[in-house]
Symmetry: C2
Subunit: 157 residues, 2 copies
């Protein structure tokens, strides 16, 4: 299978999920040159899906390029806005990635760190399928909501 071929089908039901909607919005927000103009949803989110075949074509060790970095940013922006929508409090993402592709992603709500992910091999950033992306993201968002409930005063500070 060629990397250029799309792996996300135009009829993938997960394209209608809230999180994918948020992800599309964030990807478009970072698309300064309107590359996505006229593209279908499936085509825009397609590079986020790293099937086994695609993964094999990416070297194990490598530096992330600007496009990959902007996808990682879009992803954590989408996580933050999803949390914000859910809890009604401002959620701020902060990402640190070294040029070797290692780092850390945070989302803060008030004085609370609600998402804290170690990033590695960021040049291979992606999800096995759109379904997996939604499931993993929902888990992060649910966990964040739990923390906001538990430490509500710090989240409101």
């Amino acid at each position: 299978m060629s990397v250029a071929e799309l792996v996300v089908e135009e009829t993938d039901p997960y394209l209608e999920e809230d999180f994918v909607g948020e992800m599309l919005k964030q990807l478009r927000a970072l698309d300064a040159y309107d590359t996505y103009e006229g593209w279908s949803k499936a085509k825009i989110v397609d590079p986020l899906v790293l099937t086994k075949a695609r993964k094999q074509e990416i070297p194990v060790i490598g530096d992330p390029d600007e496009i990959t970095l902007s996808r990682v940013k879009a992803y954590y922006n989408a996580i933050a806005t999803s949390i914000e929508k859910d809890c009604g409090l401002m959620a701020v993402p902060m990402i640190n990635i070294t040029h070797e592709g290692f780092g850390r992603a945070l989302v803060m709500v008030g004085k609370l760190v609600v998402v804290d992910k170690t990033l590695r091999d960021i040049h291979r950033f992606g999800f096995p399928s759109l379904k997996k992306m939604c499931e993993q993201s929902d888990k992060l968002i649910e966990k964040a909501k739990g923390l906001i409930e538990k430490y509500n005063e710090a989240a409101n500070d």
Copy 2:
């Protein structure tokens, strides 16, 4: 006055302050080439003091160089280790600076953000005097301790 001339006196009583000790340790930790070998305390911390005269010699707009960035890192490392010493919990600094010298510095304890500073004009990073550096740092550390007490459960998470 020349920039090369030291402004911190060898007899400055603030050289014996806890925070300056922490700062010296962190500056040395980032000194990979042993530049500071044989230097006095005053000489090592001297570049952190930006008197009015020194500030005037730095352009208002500019990109921070590597040495300035490493001083900013050393500073927030020193803030983090000071907090850690005080509260007995791990304190993790995280700094994001764009190449234009704008950004954000955090210190986290558990799930709590205990220091959150907006950084700007980082190429002019410094303090009017060693005394001022100690006072401002103590204020940050005290505020962090207050938050750790207030949201103790989140800080221990």
